[in-house]
């Protein structure tokens, strides 16, 4: 037990093991944002005209918009002119913006970076059942198992490649779930997004492996603006996972991503996130501003979208993975564990928009606050007039560690159909000193006791993660909360 001050401080000191910087030459645009920068990004990516037009329109709309202030977070004003909007690692073969053809063309330093992060980019490695798209700053550096997936008609590639090779699909679906002017950060992303992943599962195909994207911010003073689009056609299904890390830097870094999911009739998309951006240090310096718009549309009947997120990183998190339940009998699910320690601020939750008949949604949110963190759940359940027989179940549980942190719940409900059934349950509890004492009295160390209690609290959500990632998520949680009970 930590009895003296020094020991306490050691315990509270948090280890962010992904905080290293890769020393690699990068091609970075000067800071600032104007139409020329937007054009330059599009030019470097050799995009077709429709993409440039799309970006410019978004940029013009963005200029008219103001940053939202309703979230329960506070930060100094962001100077959008001081950020660089494009940065890509240089390598001889890769002065063009296309992703390399094979791993042999990838800079060994990059491979080493992902190796250190525990993401093997060599196929046939231990995560053999998982295909990975690795995004480094603004570009995708490698995508594995592309060929094997292509045999079944599955497209899994960087967004840049999709724009070149499958423009008709991009045109058909891009911006149909999150329109460019949806909100301030979505508009910014639409103007300057540089890369991301594209997934297309054709009719009737069940994707045979987990797909995942691993995002890494490396360059300083650079924003990361990626865009992910996943389309599952009729009867298709896919499970997708994203992971994120960044180096430790004293300055804040901006990450404003957009994710769009489209599920047609009987399709199923499972989207899991393990978010571990650098959270800042123990006095609240540095860390990533994670302002993300994620939305899935159950466009077809009997379709299903599941969001599972484990959010342990970022200085500020602002994200609400949502489901638009347009198809009849469609299902939306949201399972979340959001952990804040030190001075992290989290405003996260979901929106479930019921449009179709007999649509069901489930929301399970687990918020954990330690240190001086502020953790808010914000959720909207809207049942529109035509959504006969809609059902929602919401459960929001908050766990507090220590007495300097805060937990908040902002549930919104708008029900316009009298047949709807909407349930909301919320609890707040503290990791009791008595619980820890009880475990310790059974010979379990204090740290293991805290982990055990927290894992018990999150159990329902971890159960939704793909097996190999559930283990990783648990480990991540342990690191995040290290020493938060002294």
């Amino acid at each position: 037990m930590a009895t003296n001050q020094e020991e306490m401080e050691q315990l509270v000191e948090r280890e962010y093991k992904h905080g290293f910087v890769t020393d690699i030459e990068e091609d970075t645009l000067p800071p600032g944002l104007n139409e020329d920068i937007v054009r330059e990004i599009s030019r470097r990516k050799e995009e077709p005209e429709f993409m440039l037009e799309w970006r410019l329109q978004a940029f013009r709309q963005w200029q008219e918009m103001t940053e939202p202030t309703w979230a329960h977070v506070s930060h100094p004003p962001i100077d959008f002119q001081s950020i660089s909007y494009y940065s890509a690692p240089k390598s001889p073969e890769q002065l063009k913006e296309e992703a390399p053809e094979s791993l042999d063309e990838v800079d060994p330093k990059l491979l080493e970076t992902y190796e250190r992060l525990g993401i093997p980019l060599h196929e046939q490695e231990k995560l053999a059942g998982v295909a990975v798209d690795a995004v480094f700053d603004s570009v995708s550096v490698a995508t594995t198992y592309k060929d094997r997936l292509a045999e079944q008609g599955i497209i899994f590639c960087s967004f840049s490649e999709a724009v070149h090779d499958h423009p008709e699909l991009v045109k058909r679906y891009l911006g149909t779930v999150v329109p460019p002017a949806d909100n301030f950060f979505a508009a910014l992303n639409s103007a300057v997004f540089s890369d991301g992943s594209f997934v297309y599962i054709p009719k009737g195909v069940k994707c045979p492996m987990e797909l995942s994207t691993y995002f890494r911010i490396n360059a300083a003073n650079t924003g990361q603006f990626e865009r992910t689009l996943i389309v599952a056609e009729e009867g298709a299904s896919v499970s997708y996972l994203e992971g994120c890390t960044a180096p430790m830097r004293k300055e804040n870094q901006l990450h404003a991503a957009v994710v769009e999911l489209v599920a047609l009739d009987d399709a199923e998309i499972k989207y899991s996130t393990v978010q571990n951006w650098y959270p800042g240090n123990d006095i609240g310096e540095g860390g990533v501003y994670n302002f993300v718009t994620k939305r899935g549309e159950c466009r077809g009947d009997r379709s299903k979208i599941t969001w599972t997120q484990v959010e342990t990183g970022s200085a500020i998190t602002w994200k609400y993975p949502s489901c638009v339940l347009r198809g009849n009998d469609s299902r939306g699910e949201f399972y979340s564990v959001a952990v804040g320690n030190n001075y992290q601020q989290i405003d996260s939750g979901t929106k479930m928009i019921h449009l179709g008949k007999n649509t069901h949604s489930t929301i399970i949110s687990k918020g954990i606050s330690a240190g001086h963190a502020e953790n808010a759940y914000r959720g909207l359940v809207r049942v529109e007039k035509g959504a006969e027989g809609a059902r929602n179940f919401t459960q929001c549980d908050s766990l507090l560690m220590g007495d300097q942190c805060g937990a908040h719940t902002f549930p919104y409900m708008e029900v316009k159909n009298p047949t709807a059934k909407v349930e909301h349950e919320a609890t707040t509890s503290k990791v009791g000193e008595d619980q820890i004492f009880y475990c310790q009295q059974r010979g379990i160390s204090e740290e293991d006791a805290v982990n055990m209690i927290v894992n018990g609290f999150c159990k329902e959500v971890f159960g939704e993660l793909p097996m190999e990632f559930a283990v990783e998520a648990q480990a991540l949680l342990e690191i995040s909360l290290e020493g938060s009970v002294g």
């Binding site: 037990m1 619980q435 004492f437 009880y438 475990c439 310790q440 009295q441 059974r442 209690i453 159990k459």
Partner: protein
């Protein structure tokens, strides 16, 4: 050598003195009952021995198996073989009972330098103990004490003891909240723990438990001191005459 040796133990909670000079010697194989009216310091004594935070030892010494107990962390004490059956067992939602049991058992094995047991071996062991406690296997898969009845919680405490096999078992008001059938099962469990190299301390307000678990020694605690010690007949006398006469006798 004695199992537990308490000398002139003083302790306070929030600056208020509760224990005011306890002396007690417990030898291996002995069963001691510590009785006393409410507020006499019985529960404080068991919490201090287990190492609970907020219970400040201000004077005195406690040796456990010859070692300085007060210098040990809570989990060290547990692994050294001092185990407390809680008066109010704590609920830990979402953590399976079997998971806590196995983690505790493996911590003990690690301390002894033995390899961890796997799930299969552990289940074999725990099934046998479940039978002694007349508990259904479904207990293992429920959250730790989550939604357990009072009797179930107390059984669960003894089940943990059967698995951890402590050298010194401290039972804090284990009989409270038990109906007669549960009391019998719990007592059988405790009696099965009796051994030459193991000592048991029962902290209890009532004599009832002592009908089932026969003590070798009975001590009466009042205002933070042991004011009278005797054999099991003392407990019967207390049952019959109440505490008042002992208090008066001690004051005289």
């Amino acid at each position: 050598m004695s199992m537990l040796s308490i000398k002139d133990l003083h302790a306070e909670v929030d600056g208020k003195p509760i224990l005011k000079g306890i002396d007690l010697e417990i030898n291996p194989g002995e069963v001691h009952a510590i009785m006393g009216p409410n507020g006499s310091g019985k529960s404080t004594l068991s919490q201090v021995l287990a190492g609970r935070e907020g219970f400040e030892v201000t004077r005195g010494e406690v040796r456990f198996g010859g070692e300085d107990l007060l210098d040990m962390d809570i989990d060290e004490r547990a692994l050294a073989g001092l185990m407390l059956a809680f008066q109010y067992p704590v609920e830990i939602p979402g953590v399976k009972n079997v998971y806590l049991l196995k983690a505790a058992y493996n911590a003990l094995r690690e301390k002894r330098g033995e390899p961890e047991v796997d799930a299969f071996e552990f289940l074999q062991l725990v099934r046998e103990k479940l039978r002694i406690m007349d508990m259904d296997e479904s207990f293992l898969h429920r959250g730790v004490n989550e939604g357990f009845s009072g009797g179930e919680k107390k059984r669960n405490e003894i089940l943990q003891m059967l698995i951890m096999e402590p050298r010194l078992a401290i039972l804090d008001e284990t009989d409270s909240g038990l109906d007669i059938d549960a009391l019998k099962v719990v007592s059988d469990g405790v009696n099965s723990l009796r051994a030459e190299d193991r000592s048991i301390v029962m902290v209890t307000h009532y004599q009832r438990l002592l009908n089932y678990i026969e003590p070798d020694f009975v001590h009466v605690l009042s205002d933070g001191r042991i004011i009278k010690s005797g054999d099991k007949s003392l407990a019967l006398e207390l049952e019959e005459r109440g505490y008042q006469w002992v208090l008066e006798e001690a004051a005289a």
